[in-house]
């Protein structure tokens, strides 16, 4: 199945400028599985989102069809066909 990843402007330097990525994920598709695919296809993007322990970085927010992923199971969050995965840096720092 295919999902769409929306990339914030600050990270498009590691996606060749792409604002969105259409990614095929094997079923049953989860957010963690999507990140595993990104680690192969877009490794520089993936490691800005997850640590080497595959943990979502603290100040990265990911919304799956509008739901903040940490509220719906984190890496285990299920992705539906054509799901929209929005990556947003959180408000932090000064």
């Amino acid at each position: 199945m295919r999902v769409r990843v929306l990339v914030p402007g600050v990270l498009r330097g590691v996606t060749d400028g792409a604002a969105h990525l259409d990614v095929d994920v094997a079923e049953p598709a989860t957010l963690g599985a999507l990140f595993d695919v990104l680690a192969v296809r877009y490794p520089l993007l993936e490691r800005r989102l997850r640590t080497e322990r595959a943990e979502l970085r603290r100040y990265v927010n990911v919304y799956v069809d509008g739901e903040e992923c940490r509220r719906i199971g984190g890496a285990g969050a299920r992705l539906a066909e054509d799901a929209e995965v929005l990556i947003l840096p959180s408000i932090a720092g000064g």
């Binding site: 490794p43 800005r48 989102l49 080497e52 990265v60 932090a92 720092g93």
Partner: protein
Amino acid sequence: MSDTVLLAIGTRKGLWIATSTDDRATWKLSGPHHAMTGVYSVAIDTRRETPRLLAGVSSEHFGPTVAVSDDLGATWREPERPPIAFPESTGVSLERVWQLAPGPAAEPDVVYAGTQPSALFRSADGGLTYEFVQSLWDHPHREEWGAGYGGQAIHTVLPHPADPASVLVAMSSGGVYRTDDALASWRPANSGLRAYFLPDQYPEFGQCVHKIARHPAHPDRYFLQNHHGVYRSDDGAESWTSIADGLPSDFGFAMAVHPARPEVIYTFPLVADVDRFPPEGRCRVYRSEDAGSTWTALTEGLPQEDFWTTVMRDALCVDDSDPGGVYFGSRSGAVYASRDQGDSWRCVAANLPDVLSVRAAVV
């Protein structure tokens, strides 16, 4: 025509590069490179035909990495695989790269990285990718290493200039360790270093070391700025003796050795750990020309009133020339350079973000 001097300035919000082609009289500044990242470590590897810049950058959002440039900072790259990553068995993740240290001349592709959490990594491809040094991680003392205010980190890595088997590392709330068997084993090297904040003030390890410097022509001599205490070792870090007499304070973070005169060292004293300001609010670099026996305050060209900022552990450096330039940056974003060994100073930049690291070289 004068050589080009390159000064890399790592700050809390990116890297700036200053270049001078008139013997450090004037500087041209470019940046920010790696904007909105903390550049805690920077190195200029002049062992290569084309000098390589290395930067340990940390994004609060997107984590740490190491980027390199082979065109003096015009463009940067990083490999697809993470340059530095902790093995799964450790259960931890890289938080920050505190030190990037090119290895000895005999190993032109070796670069070491000191990290947070406290670990050492070694690169054999010129600093692009690094391998975890398991032996230091496995040291039985590691469980008792503490974390300084800045975190638990190997912030100082000094590869021996002639012996590839010998490397010295240091950390806050842990102390000094060295290997002489090509990273196979490590032993503490803290004899004589005081840890005033512990019940046993001269423990085997646990000292809060802030920075160590060594001149390549005298590889067995080290100079150390401690968390209270300034020391010298003349026996390869087997023992340390105080050289703090003559300084206004024995607290500070930075330490550097003159590139051409091994007896000449520089530090930037602060009042105390509970009073982290330059004494009297005066910006003064202190120089010793006799390996720490006597000290002189260097003030010409530096603010002598209302200077209430600090110089971090890697924000004081020398370049690699003779007679050599000396440089430092402050947490208030000011950067100064001296082309007369510290006798006088000129402002290179005045309003950068907090300066975390500086390195300079003739390129």
